[in-house]
Each structure stands twice: as structure tokens, then as C-alpha cells.
């Protein structure tokens, strides 16, 4: 028995937002267009719109995160929703309460949406399959699987700078293997029609069968950046050194760190992105991170507008406010 895409309701509207994979270009474009409406909310004296007044959103974070949780919280508050943050450390799940029990308890408090971050791939799908029919689930990152809101804010940033997706070359550099951000970006770029998506890194950090995702694989940074319009640098986790994936942070920076010299291989008007937080001197030189081509702080600002759009679209369906 194959289930239909649980992200969509009977009328094909977004009910959950779990992964970019399987969504249409129309839905992604709708999110980007809708997000444009929210970019000015932060500039108003009263930074709120009443779209989700009376709704309750729970940020359920099983992994520590400051930036993502904060932008989700701000997005929800600017939509006038009530927000509850629950940080579940590994130790408290060790008390024996199952994920499902915890979910049922929270649901009994009549919430309308869960924003979930979890270390296990598929956690958001699992939760979405078990919530009550009126509850929406947004994936705030599940293991190495997906981080779809991050990918959408990245697409928003690219569109603002480059306009047409169908003429772009985009390079994603670093630990593709363990990156939920990269996976979601690759799906989004392909769906939006980017003809040349590249991943750059050593073979140890490139997942098997990567070309089947719709990317070209490069092991050499200069070749991978040659003529690209967008450079996306990924964060390198320190623990990658301990499992024979890399010799050292030093050698990684030598080969794959983005310096002004390496960036010169890209188009002169190329933009540089990073999902944050940056390891300066590991994946990126400060001169690039703080340089004129960097749009890293814009990404953070756009994150709020894009998350507002996604929350309003998923929760706004029934009432028709959206």
C-alpha cells in the first residue's frame, strides 16, 4: 500500500511541511511569493499581522538550536500565534517516555502546530503520521534528511539576487553526506529549474549515488566554483575528523575552505551563502564571510519571512484567512 504525499491535504494544499522532495514548482513559488508580503512586517512599528491569532504553536526541539528556534518563534509571534518552546534533551527522553507519548500529551493541550527538530531522519514524517487531523507539522530539521524551511529561505535569497532560477549555476560545498540542508537545497534547486547544481567535497563527504539526486560531483574546489552564480558553503561538524572522514580541519581548509582567491573562480557577481553558524577558518575565510559578496545575514532576515509564509499557508487553510 503506497500512501499519498502526507504533506498535502485532499485539495492539494500544504498541510505539513516535511520535505521539499515531491512538492511542485507551483507550491514552492507560492511560498516564495507569499513570503515577499512578510518581508516588511519587521520594519513596521507594530511587527505583527493577525493571521494566526488564537492559534497555538509548539516548538518541539530535540536538538539544541538557537538560530532556527528563534526565527521560528519570531515568525509565529509576528503572525500573532501563541508560542511554546519545549527543549527536550536526550536525558529526558531517557526517562522512558516515548516520542509518541510525549506527542499525545502535548496534543491534549490543544495545539495547532508542531515545529519539530530531531536527530533522527524521518522523525518529522513519523510525527506527522500520528498527529490529530487538525494539527500541522513543520520539519525544523531531522537528522541528515531534510531542513526544508532553510532551503526555502535560501531559495528566497537566491531569487532576490538572481531573479530567474533557470539560468543559474549553483555550487554547494562541504559535507554533503551529513547535511540535511544540502539535501533540501538540492531538491528545491532542481524543482525550481536550476540547470546546473554542483556538489563539491572529498569522496568521503559525498553520499553514494549523489548524481541521482540531480547534481554534478566535483572533488576540486576551483573546478567546482568555475563560473557559478551562487556558492553555498556548508558547516563542517568537528566530529567528522574522528571517523576517518577527514584528516584534519587544517587540511580541509586548504582544500575546501572558501578564500577570496578561490571565490575568484566564480562569477564576479556570485553571491556567497552559509546556513550558519560559520566555523571561521574551517570552511570559510572571514574576508569572504564578511565580504561584499556575502549574503549570510540576509539569509537570517529572510528566514523569518519565509517561515511566516509556510506557517500561514499550512495553518491558514481551513479558516481561509490566508
Amino acid at each position: 500500500m503506497r500512501e499519498r504525499d502526507i504533506q498535502l491535504d485532499d485539495q492539494g494544499r500544504l498541510r505539513h511541511f516535511l520535505t521539499i522532495e515531491g512538492l511542485s514548482r507551483e507550491i514552492l513559488t507560492e511560498i516564495l511569493d507569499y513570503a515577499e508580503n512578510f518581508t516588511t512586517v519587521g520594519h513596521q512599528p507594530v511587527k505583527k499581522v493577525p493571521l494566526l491569532r488564537g492559534r497555538t504553536i509548539i516548538n518541539l526541539f530535540f536538538e539544541v538550536s538557537t538560530r532556527t528556534r528563534t526565527t521560528f518563534e519570531l515568525a509565529a509571534k509576528r503572525l500573532s500565534a501563541d508560542v511554546l518552546n519545549i527543549n527536550v534533551s536526550a536525558s529526558s527522553t531517557a526517562k522512558g517516555e516515548s516520542l509518541l507519548d510525549m506527542l499525545r500529551n502535548l496534543e491534549a493541550m490543544h495545539c495547532d502546530m508542531f515545529v519539530v527538530r530531531h536527530a533522527s531522519p524521518g522523525a518529522a514524517h513519523f510525527i506527522a503520521r500520528h498527529v490529530a487531523p487538525h494539527v500541522s507539522v513543520i520539519n525544523g530539521g531531522d537528522g541528515s534528511h531534510a531542513h526544508p524551511t532553510q532551503a526555502m529561505l535560501d531559495m528566497f535569497t537566491i531569487r532576490r539576487h538572481k531573479g530567474d532560477f533557470t539560468r543559474l549555476s549553483v555550487a554547494i560545498v562541504g559535507d554533503i553526506m551529513h547535511s540535511r540542508v544540502a539535501r533540501s537545497q538540492i531538491h528545491a534547486l532542481n524543482i525550481l529549474g536550476v540547470p546546473d547544481v554542483r556538489v563539491v567535497g572529498p569522496e568521503t563527504l559525498i553520499p553514494v549515488e549523489a548524481p541521482q539526486l540531480g547534481v554534478h560531483v566535483y572533488h576540486d574546489l576551483a573546478a567546482g566554483l568555475d563560473g557559478v552564480d551562487v556558492v553555498i558553503m556548508l558547516r563542517l561538524q568537528r566530529e567528522r575528523m574522528s571517523r576517518a572522514l577527514l584528516p584534519s580541519a587544517h587540511e580541509y581548509f586548504q582544500c575546501y575552505g572558501l578564500t577570496p582567491e578561490k571565490l575568484a573562480c566564480a562569477r564576479p557577481d556570485a553571491i556567497v551563502m552559509h546556513p550558519g553558524p560559520i566555523n571561521r577558518g574551517v570552511e570559510m575565510d572571514s574576508a569572504v564571510a564578511d565580504g561584499p559578496q556575502s549574503v549570510i545575514l540576509e539569509q537570517v532576515t529572510h528566514g523569518i519571512a519565509v517561515r511566516m509564509a509556510i506557517m500561514a499557508m499550512t495553518l491558514g487553510r481551513a479558516g481561509g484567512e490566508a
Binding site: M1, S98, H118, H145, H178, V208, L213
Partner: protein, 431 residues
């Protein structure tokens, strides 16, 4: 003397090269004769009409976890023997990874007692290869054999130390015990939970490369060049393993292998978006692997199809994919899944499929089971090869409802199962 005749059926008994209409005559729990007419003086007290159905030896399943002792919240010996009977399985072989582990004669005796009390199927046991399956100290294999174990195995637990592995093979060989090995290199497998391939890449799930299996197979084959042991490879999942094995068999090495029925029908693609019922060990691999396993089965490199039954309680599958326990509840789908390999468009005929479910696995275990030869125990499986049924997890006899085949329409269904001439299962609602 209790006597029984099974009449009007198509008797398929590959061990004796039989496939055709015949009656089966049973007295005192043993086969008396198979043929067109009763032997002189045979008076059946009871007649079982098998018209339109196939009468085959009871199936011999090389791998079924019964969860007892130790995990009775998942299933019991009694519950799973009843499920085996419903699936036409009359002999099933338990790996030693119970709690406690089968590394003492006492555990063997306990399991035998419980199985005899249940009575619905014969249970044979693999003893532990190492104490506690910890891979360091040899288990008392001679003692386990005396208690009735039919072979030894470290189940899914690795033997990290190659020297211990070599010694274990040597020691098992000196007691004429077959060593059952589920090949997986623990370092290459790491914390993987799916095949390292396109689905792992898509879903961000940690992968187990095919080389985790082939490296382990190759390691054993190299050791066997020095050690005269008999090894049976369990649950092959990679096409490349079959090739390695074919080469070794050609060279005359005493190695055999089996495959789980679901590996012949599912691939990594069936995981979809994290279907927990497709979390298996070894993992589902590619279409090419599936074809390779089928080819191995046709050529005879792989001689047996087993269920690899692993019933779970529902909680064990209610978690994100990697955090769930692997394995499926498989006793009742073994026969119809295997039957899908027989047919006009398929490379095997019915008799060849039945052989891989009966006399071939019995040979691996060194048992005189899986045949309707006169004098053999009257373990019989009667099934309607054309009955269609839909797999509904809640209607399985097994306590385990964890099956990836829910909603599949299968063809072929057991109507009667006999163990030692006694009807241990009879379908109440013949389809």
C-alpha cells in the same frame, strides 16, 4: 493404530521426484505410502479430501525468532508455533539470540519443553558459537550438541576477532557442527539501517554498503581454505555475495546459503518515505541484488528460502525509522511469497520452489525432514495454489503484526498442516 488418507490432491515431493495426482497414506504419525491406491490392508480411519490442492511435505524454515525466552511481550513459542502451522511450516529453526542466549544445555531443554507443550511445530535450535554471543570465548558446543542443537551460530552478533572466528570454525568442525553465519562486517555496517544506495542518500539515512556483506563472506571463505569446517551463510542480501559463493562451491568448498523470502520481492525503493516495516537486517538492497539472489536460487548456489521471522510488539515499530527494531513477521507469508517464483513466466517450477522450502533446508540442518518418503514423519502441508488472499496484519496468527506486505494480494494459501500425522492447523474459512 491411527490411520489417515489424504486423497485427491496433487502430491509434490521433490525429495522423491514426485509431482502428480496421488494419495498419501499415514499410520501412527508416519508416512506409509504415496501412490494411486492404498497398500494392502490399509484402512483409513479418517480421510482428508485434498481435491484441487497441493499436498507437499511440511515446510522447513531455517530462521524464525520465537521471542521466548526473554521477550514474551513480543511473542511466545506457543503463539509463533501456531503461526508457523498456519503458514504450513512444520519445522522451524531458532537462532540462539534469545534472552538468555542459547549457550547452555538448560536453555535448549527449556525451549524444547515449551515447544513440545505447544505441539504445533517442531522447533530445532542453533546453539551459540561464543559465550553470550560476545565473540570472545567459545561456547560449549559439544554440550549444546548433546542437548540437541542442530548447529551453531553467533546470530546477528559479530565475531570481531578473526582468530576467535578461526578457532570457532575449527572447534565446530571437530564436533561435526555446521556453523551458521550471517555475514556482516561490523565496521563497514557501522550504525547503518538501510542499504547504502540511492534511498539512503535521498533520505539521509545511514547506510550499510553491500561490501559489509561481501567482505564478511570473503573473510570466511579465505579462512575455510585452511579450516575444514562446514559453513552455511544466512540471509544473503547482495548479488555479489552469491557470485563469491558460486566460485567457492565450484572449488568444492562445503558452503551453502539461504535467502529470506522478502529479499526476493522487495528492494530499497519500498522504503518510500520511511516505512518502518521495511527496516530490515540485512537491509533491502537494489533491483540488481534482488535479481542476483533469484538467479542464485535458480542455479542452486542458494538452496533454501526462509522466513527470517521476527515478530515485534507495536511499540518496537513506533519511532523514527532508525530507532525502530528491524525485522518482519513472516511465517504466514513465506509460502505464497515463494510461490510467486513458480509459474509460466518464472524460471522455477512448483516442485523446485517446494524443494527450496522443504528438503533443501532440511539437508542444511542435517534433518530427515521435508519429505513424504515412506517411514518419514508425517509432516504435511496442504495448500490451495490458486487461492487469492489479501494480507491483513490484524488477521495474522502471529503476535507480530509487522509486515511490509500489508494490502498485498497473494496467491496460495495453506488449508491444512499436519505434524506427525496430527492436524495442527485447519483453515476454518477455506478461501
Amino acid at each position: 493404530m491411527t490411520t489417515l488418507a489424504i486423497t485427491g490432491g496433487r502430491v509434490v515431493d521433490p525429495a522423491n521426484g514426485l509431482d502428480g495426482p496421488a494419495d498419501v497414506f499415514i499410520a501412527d504419525g508416519r508416512i506409509v505410502a504415496v501412490g494411486p491406491a492404498a497398500p494392502d490392508g490399509f484402512r483409513p480411519e479418517r480421510t482428508l479430501d485434498a481435491g484441487g490442492r497441493v499436498v507437499a511435505p511440511g515446510l522447513v524454515d531455517l530462521a524464525a525468532r520465537l521471542r521466548e525466552p526473554g521477550e514474551e511481550h513480543k511473542a511466545t513459542i506457543a503463539s509463533e508455533c501456531a503461526a508457523a502451522a498456519a503458514g504450513g511450516i512444520t519445522t522451524l529453526c531458532m537462532p540462539p539470540d534469545t534472552h538468555p542466549v542459547v549457550d547452555t544445555a538448560a536453555v535448549v531443554e527449556l525451549i524444547h519443553q515449551r515447544a513440545e507443550a505447544a505441539g504445533a511445530a517442531r522447533v530445532v535450535i542453533l546453539g551459540a558459537l561464543t559465550v553470550g554471543l560476545e565473540g570472545t570465548q567459545l561456547a560449549e558446543m559439544a554440550e549444546l550438541k548433546r542437548a540437541g542443537c542442530v548447529g551453531v551460530s553467533n546470530a546477528r552478533r559479530p565475531v570481531h576477532d578473526t582468530l576467535v572466528l578461526r578457532r570457532a570454525l575449527e572447534y565446530a568442525a571437530s564436533h561435526d557442527l555446521t556453523v551458521f553465519i550471517q555475514p556482516e562486517d561490523p565496521h563497514l555496517a557501522q550504525e547503518g539501517c538501510v542499504h547504502e544506495g540511492v534511498v539512503a542518500t535521498r533520505l539521509g539515512l545511514p547506510g550499510i554498503p553491500a561490501s559489509a556483506e561481501t567482505v564478511a563472506v570473503a573473510q570466511i571463505l579465505m579462512l575455510l581454505e585452511q579450516v575444514p569446517a562446514r559453513v552455511h551463510f544466512c540471509r544473503l542480501s547482495a548479488a555479489r555475495s552469491v557470485n563469491l559463493l558460486a566460485r567457492a562451491q565450484y572449488d568444492g568448498m562445503p558452503v551453502t546459503a539461504d535467502v529470506a523470502a522478502h529479499q526476493l520481492h522487495l528492494t530499497e525503493m519500498d522504503i518510500g518515505f520511511f516505512d518502518n516495516n521495511c527496516h530490515l537486517r540485512p537491509p533491502l538492497r537494489t533491483r540488481r541484488d534482488l535479481e542476483g539472489l533469484r538467479a542464485g536460487l535458480v542455479r542452486g548456489t542458494v538452496t533454501a528460502i526462509c522466513s527470517d521471522h521476527q515478530p515485534h510488539d507495536s511499540d518496537a515499530k513506533l519511532a523514527p525509522f532508525c530507532e525502530t527494531e528491524p525485522g518482519i513477521s513472516a511465517l504466514e507469508t513465506l509460502l505464497p511469497l515463494a510461490l510467486r517464483l513458480a509459474g509460466d513466466d518464472e524460471p522455477l517450477d512448483l516442485s523446485a520452489v517446494i524443494a527450496r522450502l522443504t528438503c533443501e533446508p532440511a539437508r542444511v540442518l542435517g534433518l530427515a525432514a521435508g519429505t513424504l518418503s515412506p517411514g518419514a514423519a508425517a509432516d504435511v502441508c496442504i495448500f490451495d495454489p490458486h487461492a487469492h488472499w489479501t494480507v491483513e496484519p490484524d488477521r495474522l496468527v502471529s503476535r507480530g503484526r509487522n509486515t511490509p506486505f500489508a494490502g498485498w494480494e497473494l496467491e496460495g494459501r495453506v488449508t491444512h498442516t499436519l505434524v506427525g500425522g496430527r492436524v495442527v492447523f485447519q483453515r476454518e474459512d477455506p478461501p
